[in-house]
């Protein structure tokens, strides 16, 4: 503790340089945070541990091609199948094209029990069931657009039947326990959707099948696809996790590119910081030699120089994290339309702090070792 004033006085000796160095650390961590958010967003669905006992049955050609509604009963007959539900992509916008969020027409009977991670109160569920134009909205979307239970929300750009009015009453808001669960969805009644749509009647977008045990997943998947093989609508069945992994693979390249570019910038920034810190130590060689002359040990000088680097980095890290937290709502607003799970996972924040401090340590260690090995007589020249 008694050395702290010395430590602070040293780092404060060139304020402009200190501000720039701290700023660099802060920006580096801020950048790391943004990358972590983007990366997490691309891979978030996978991280959320999508059900391994939930299967997705889609049209073999593409997920945008429908599947006959009649398949439901046949799938239910397969041994090991516990529940079957279905949904369809709705694809409208709220007020403006930018205001996009996923909307699904869902099966009123089984959808809720298929996704227990999405929590909606019984009263709200009942209110929704009783209102044909009712919808249940995820808390993220509700928060983003200020939706409250009881609000009437008109959607436009509906492909299925553009001439009809598609206004809905918000009857419930669902929540999730984990931050990487998708709380941006908007659920409308299947019956209303099927009734009003101009085409595609008698089909669904996809089925979701819960099996009795994850061990049954492979067998049931095969049986479903075999059952509809050589029909006019063949199916492709995979676990939810596999499907999301496939999706992540398609979008993952973008995430990877962003990560690589960001990482290069991040490390370049840190190399520059390292050089600055080394420079600040080189300027003080004589002073360090004086410290050693009056009795400060080599180890003390080593630790002291590293501590300086870490202290500067720590301040930068704190500012960077603070800025990130402050900017997060803005980032969410700006990117929320096309990125899900816009949040900084705590483990990533810790990772960023550790990496930054480690780089600061690396930046400090070389000048620190040089300072500790310094021969006093050479540095001072004269006693």
């Amino acid at each position: 503790m008694k050395f702290l004033p010395l430590l602070f006085k040293n780092i404060l000796r060139k304020k402009t340089r200190l501000i720039l160095t701290i700023g660099s650390f802060a920006i580096a961590l801020f950048l790391f945070g943004i990358l972590a958010i983007v990366n997490n967003s691309f891979n978030g669905a996978l991280n959320s541990m999508a059900g391994v006992d939930r299967l997705m049955v889609q049209n073999r050609v593409s997920i945008i091609q429908p599947v006959p509604q009649a398949y439901k009963e046949k799938i239910e007959q397969i041994q090991g199948v516990k529940t079957v539900t279905y949904a369809n992509w709705f694809g409208a916008v709220y007020q403006d094209e930018k205001n996009f969020f996923p909307q699904y027409a869902i099966d009123e009977d089984n959808y809720r029990q298929m996704y227990p991670e999405f929590k909606v109160s019984d009263a709200e569920w009942k209110a929704w069931q009783d209102d044909r134009e009712g919808v249940i909205v995820g808390e993220k979307t509700a928060k983003r657009y200020g939706f409250k239970v009881g609000d009437r929300v008109p959607l436009t750009g509906v492909l299925w039947s553009p001439e009809k009015s598609w206004s809905f009453n918000i009857r419930g808001i669902y929540h999730a326990d984990k931050p990487d669960e998708d709380t941006s969805q908007f659920w409308l009644h299947w019956k209303l959707f099927d009734e009003r749509r101009a085409f595609g009647k008698g089909t669904v977008g996809w089925y979701i099948v819960r099996v009795n045990s994850p061990d049954d997943a492979v067998r049931v998947s095969k049986e479903i696809d075999t059952m509809f093989a050589n029909s006019s609508t063949e199916t492709k069945t995979q676990t939810e996790k596999e499907m999301l992994a496939g999706w992540a693979k398609q979008t993952g390249n973008i995430g990877l590119m962003i990560t690589i570019i960001g990482s290069i910038v991040f490390f370049t920034l840190l190399l520059v910081i390292g050089n600055t810190m080394a420079m600040s130590i080189r300027e003080r060689v004589r002073e360090l030699a004086v410290l050693k002359a009056i009795g400060f040990t080599d180890t003390f000088v080593l630790v002291f120089v590293i501590a300086e680097a870490l202290l500067v980095a720590l301040i930068g890290v704190a500012i960077g994290l603070g800025l990130l937290m402050l900017a997060l709502p803005g980032i969410e607003k700006a990117l929320g339309s096309f990125l899900q799970f816009v949040f900084l996972p705590p483990q990533k924040a810790v990772e960023g702090v550790v990496i930054t401090l480690f780089i600061a340590f690396l930046a400090g260690i070389i000048p620190a070792v040089n300072a500790s090995r310094l021969r006093v007589v050479d540095a001072i020249r004269r006693v």
């Binding site: 008694k2 050395f3 004033p5 010395l6 006085k9 040293n10 404060l12 000796r13 004589r286 002073e287 004086v290 410290l291 050693k292 002359a293 009056i294 009795g295 400060f296 040990t297 080599d298 180890t299 021969r375 006093v376 007589v377 001072i380 004269r382 006693v383």
Partner: protein, 240 residues
């Protein structure tokens, strides 16, 4: 008592057959050659000699900043020349007070904080350190400038702070390398009076390298060095 014949007894500082060889451009340079020296406690010794004669090298070795090629240095019973790096550093903190020609104060620390530095290595409490620092600053006549930074002080005042830093931990002896070399005559005289006072009134053993005959006049003994050898040891009055 100061002797250069190697026959001194009961000396505070005892140097025997001291050699220091540097490598320069692949060649050995004998900076010190078989040097003997005895300095009694409470002495004030001045070293004079041409540049390159080995004065500073001798001071470096006596202060434990460097190790001899051969020979021994014993200070208050401790054989300094055989100490390892960290032990030597600890020994320096306890026994040696350095006064540098260029003062070598830490520019970002106040006079008080500069003087406090050696005490940070001791187990003294904050209030004890404060008391010691205030005493040292009062001794050099700078108790009223304790919160000033080096840039706010004159050269003479900076050197006073340097001296306060050197004496604050009550070292066994002081090593002063050209303490007035960077000062005008008036400031130099003031600093020399202060050093003299430390020796006379506080019994500090002082070894000083100087090129200034007036500074050397203040010492009890004057040693001339030439080509790594102490060629003369005399009481200052006798030399003149």
């Amino acid at each position: 008592m100061v002797r250069v014949d190697g026959n001194g007894t009961d000396s505070l500082i005892k140097v025997r057959n001291l050699d220091k060889i540097y490598k320069r451009g692949g060649e050995d340079v004998n900076v010190l050659q078989g040097l003997n020296l005895d300095v009694a406690k409470g002495e004030f010794v001045a070293f004079m000699g041409p540049s390159g004669s080995g004065k500073t090298t001798l001071l470096n070795l006596l202060g434990g900043l460097d190790l001899p090629t051969s020979g021994s240095i014993t200070v208050a019973g401790d054989e300094v020349s055989r100490m390892s790096g960290s032990k030597l550093t600890t020994w320096r903190a306890r026994h040696v007070g350095f006064v540098f020609q260029m003062y070598n104060l830490i520019p970002v620390l106040t006079a008080f904080q500069n003087v406090e530095l050696p005490l940070l290595l001791t187990g003294l409490s904050k209030s004890q350190r404060k008391q010691h620092v205030e005493t040292a600053l009062a001794l050099v006549g700078l108790d009223h400038r304790s919160n000033h930074y080096p840039r706010q002080l004159s050269g003479g005042q900076e050197q006073r702070v340097g001296i306060a830093r050197a004496i604050v931990a009550d070292p066994t002896f002081l090593l002063c390398d050209e303490p007035t070399g960077d000062l005008d005559r008036k400031s130099a005289d003031e600093i020399l009076t202060l050093i003299e006072q430390l020796n006379r009134e506080h019994g500090k053993t002082i070894l000083m390298v100087t090129h200034d005959p007036l500074a050397a006049d203040r010492a009890h003994s004057l040693l001339h060095m030439d080509k790594g050898v102490l060629v003369e040891a005399a009481r200052v009055g006798e030399v003149r």
